[in-house]
Subunit: 550 residues, 2 copies
């Protein structure tokens, strides 16, 4: 290109350019929503003025403990005010958040802290004992800061050299939570659940977190002053960037240490929480709660569900409760959800069946994500939008991770072909929506035919006696594999295998109908995702009875 | 800073980084909202598939006319589909939009096109004659493309070598509207109205337009599928970036060639338009329209108003019509509005007086703007938030222009001190909201006292007989200056100077009460802003009668 008149003497400068980073929303909230309630946590209350002040003090305290740009601060915390404050203070220093899954054991926690070279660990006393074990064998153990939450009533113990509130009280707040030095700087490292192999540290950056925090509001039409309930653990992809979204909107964080039907519904009723994100398990809790717990809740509520398509019973049941459900899809590598099942303009007029079908899709890319498609595993070219041809879901754009920490090999593999490869198999429907036919390893190959375990699960969920289900491959001497269905019956229900087989026959091709059932509790991850790998382990221990009919 | 483990082997690449630019929303709309109505214009209808296709064809056609990155395409168009398509195609080429004010005369238009070195001019045949005159004397006249809009029923004539539809039909669409080469690239050059001196070409960039387009949705909680009515001329700050906002939301543009009460209310009724932006004059048109025109409009409508605080009569009147008004503030240099008067959570319970006061403020910075404050003109330090101390409103952040075209001197002056200086005088209220006491030149100095013309206007507007008013300084032999009020009476009204003086005495200090009145039509700009410079000219021609009483 030749030089243009528009290139002359118009450089970036402080008046017209600043690095994008989501902590900016906290500074603004402290400025323009100063008197608005920022956090409700049991008996505790803060305003945005308070929260900004506490984050500024925490930043000063962390600086005092030696934290600089590029250092890691690990967090072993429940969904408490301190967890939020750390999400505001750590990135303000250019340091990196490592939010640890509180349900992991000491060995796994220790491994992660060692891998990301944590220099400080902020730990809730509820997890003190585990934390002490986790750091005991580390060559360079982090400095520990104990959080003693007045709302915590269980047993726990402080294990560090510092106590959070005392540290804040002793620190003069920094003047301002600054924007990042560079918007490409790391903001967090989050370890993938790693059902097989070594966990990978997903490194995200300020630019992506900023855009995703904004995109949450756009995707969900979130209003100023939204009251957001923390059912989703913040250690899960930094709470899908909602800590920052809520700050942008001058909303209120409603914290929850314990997630169960009683605490959730109390938060809806008492704190008028109006938005929440959760795995299907949590939605089921709400749906199946004692009706008495629903009394006195009369405002509209909206929930986001990820990790599995909401079955028809959930959509209709939630609708009856005044809760509107949006299905989103994503992975840690894309900051949590990065795709949404859009609701067409005539949504309310659609049949329940149609709603279930539309909302069951993984959907389309978020507005601020640059690309999402389904590619042929061999050619890496997009598959036709025919709803039939399978391929791998891929993303590209600013809401994709920097890479895997200390794993250039894995990073290069994930970004091969100029897209981030999710490993999830799906089809592209004619209207451009992605529908997962199956996660790659969830395909059951029976008699040479590929069967989607999701398709069978959809069929099973349509039976009123099924509370939850999961289908995996059962090794089979004749067919190679055959579907095995784990089923949790609805409370008081007594559905039998024969009834389910008859039910499935009406909905599925013969070779897809499951003939093997286990009626037992289904294992889930801390975030409510069904642990299919555990179910597969169990399947390997089962001696299948040869099937006669297909 | 020492090198960090987070810097290793995680460079930006195509999978995880792309330049921000608002045309990306058009590509996405064509992909995920393909069948949704994009544009309604009289009898014409397009879907997002169509609009993307037409923009791709226009991009190809412009390339054929020699347009490259850094070149300028001038637009002399009404709010038509072609105006939107140009906003999508021109930046896709890295070229720069110069949207011309259709109410300017040929000399002014020619001057602007010469200054920004326009290579192509797309002109609606309604303005053909003016365009021909405008380019007649240019040393390097642009190539002219005529738009012949089937919805245009007036007289006009094509004046160029190409016709828009024929050009599109003859062009193979480009494969994709690409992201900008660099997000700092210019996207538009818009000339400030230039009430005095030479107009300045405000150069905006892709990054800012992208963030502002998103911020429109966040600020206004705009839903997917919004139906946006084009009452605001798109030549005004590129329609405040709403051409791109609506694409992001898969919304529908409802075009309007002629803006009057009948066409606006018909668009609400027939096309169910639910959002619009406009100067106060347009809101007044709606408010004062024949009640018969309001029949059949039963959906909620929201309007944004800029350029002047909405008086109480407008807020209450609009509320009665089911129209919710949001007051925003900005300038061309910050892409249109960049501040908003926030509505607190208990808005609906506030008294009309409170609503008027709160909504009358210029407000707080947009969520994606990095900074806004009021600084002392001498020290350049922020004034105290006491609601009393006056200073100049300043902005900083990504939604600030690159600079003034070919005016490094003016650019440097505007950005002096690391902030963009608006030239507007205001106070900072204790809750962080900015309230304009007066544009700098609108201060009236009478007997050594500073009087805000806005304060007097507020008082006058509270009188039911005042339809519109504007107060300027009248030179005065004794007092130096004294307030002169131009007043438009409400239709059929007969308010007298004595009545207004008595009314103002109850509300203002004696020295602020105006004693000079002109009951005559008030001149406004094309965008409805009162032209105080013209009123000041008129004031200079008046011989004041010495006042006895103060």
């Amino acid at each position: 290109m030749s030089t243009s008149i528009f290139d002359e003497a118009m450089p970036r400068q402080v008046a017209n350019h600043c690095a994008l980073g989501p902590v900016a929303f906290v500074e603004r909230a402290g400025e323009v929503f100063a008197g608005v309630e920022s956090v409700v946590h049991g008996q505790r209350r803060y305003t945005w003025h308070d929260t900004r002040e506490r984050a500024r003090r925490l930043a000063a305290a962390l600086t005092g403990l030696g934290i600089e740009r590029g250092d890691t601060v690990s967090l072993l915390l429940s969904n408490t005010p301190e967890m939020l404050e750390a999400h505001y203070a750590v990135p303000a220093l250019g340091a990196v958040i490592n939010a640890l899954n509180t349900r992991l054991d000491a060995a796994a926690l220790g491994w992660q802290m060692q891998h990301c070279e944590a220099q400080v660990l902020i730990v809730d006393s509820a997890f003190g004992v585990t934390a002490r074990q986790a750091v005991a064998k580390l060559a360079h153990p982090p400095t520990i800061v104990d959080v003693i939450d007045s709302e915590f009533t269980g047993s726990g113990e402080p294990v560090g050299a510092h106590e959070y509130e005392a540290l804040l009280a002793a620190s003069d707040p920094i003047e301002r939570l600054p924007n990042p030095f560079d918007e490409w700087d790391a903001i967090a490292v989050s370890y993938t659940s790693g059902t097989t192999g070594e966990p990978k540290g997903v490194v995200t950056h300020h630019r992506g977190a900023y855009l995703n925090a904004v995109c949450n509001a756009v995707t969900w039409t979130l209003p100023q002053g939204a009251r957001y309930l923390w059912t989703l653990p913040m250690f899960h992809c930094n709470g899908w960037c909602f800590p920052w979204t809520v700050a942008m909107l001058g909303g209120t964080h409603v914290c929850l240490r314990e997630v169960n039907a009683a605490t959730i519904l109390a938060a809806f009723r008492e704190h008028r929480a109006d938005h929440y994100c959760a795995a299907p398990l949590v939605h089921e809790m709400i749906l199946k709660a004692d009706p008495a717990l629903h009394a006195g809740i009369d405002h509209p509520i909206r929930g986001m569900v990820a990790a599995a398509a909401p079955p028809a019973t959930m959509i209709s049941g939630m609708q009856a409760l005044g809760i509107d459900i949006t299905h989103v899809y994503g992975l840690t590598e894309v900051y949590g959800p990065a795709a949404v099942a859009l609701k067409p303009a005539d949504w309310t007029e659609r049949s329940l069946e149609e709603k279930t079908r539309l909302n069951g899709r993984q959907g389309v890319r978020y507005a601020l994500q640059d690309g999402m498609t389904v590619v042929d595993p061999d050619t890496r070219e997009p598959v036709p939008a025919d709803g039939i041809t399978q391929g791998e879901i891929v993303f590209r754009g600013n809401i994709v991770m920097k890479g895997y920490l200390k794993r250039p090999d894995a990073t290069a593999e994930a970004f091969q072909g100029g897209w981030f490869r999710t490993g999830d198999l799906a089809v592209l429907e004619p209207d451009g929506h992605v529908r997962i036919r199956d996660r790659a390893k969830d395909i059951i190959i029976t008699g040479g035919e590929n069967v989607s375990s999701l398709e069978i699960e959809d069929a099973l969920y349509a039976h009123p006696g099924v509370g939850a289900c999961a289908v995996v491959a059962l090794p089979h001497p004749h067919w190679g594999e055959t579907p095995l269905a784990f089923v949790e019956r609805v409370p008081g229900g007594e559905v039998t295998p024969d009834q389910l087989i008859a039910h499935c026959r009406e909905r599925l091709a013969g070779f897809k109908v499951p003939h093997h059932f286990r009626f037992e509790p289904i294992e889930r991850t801390a975030t409510g995702k069904i642990r299919k790998n555990v179910l597969r382990e169990r399947a390997r221990a089962i001696e299948p009875v040869p099937q006669k009919d297909r």
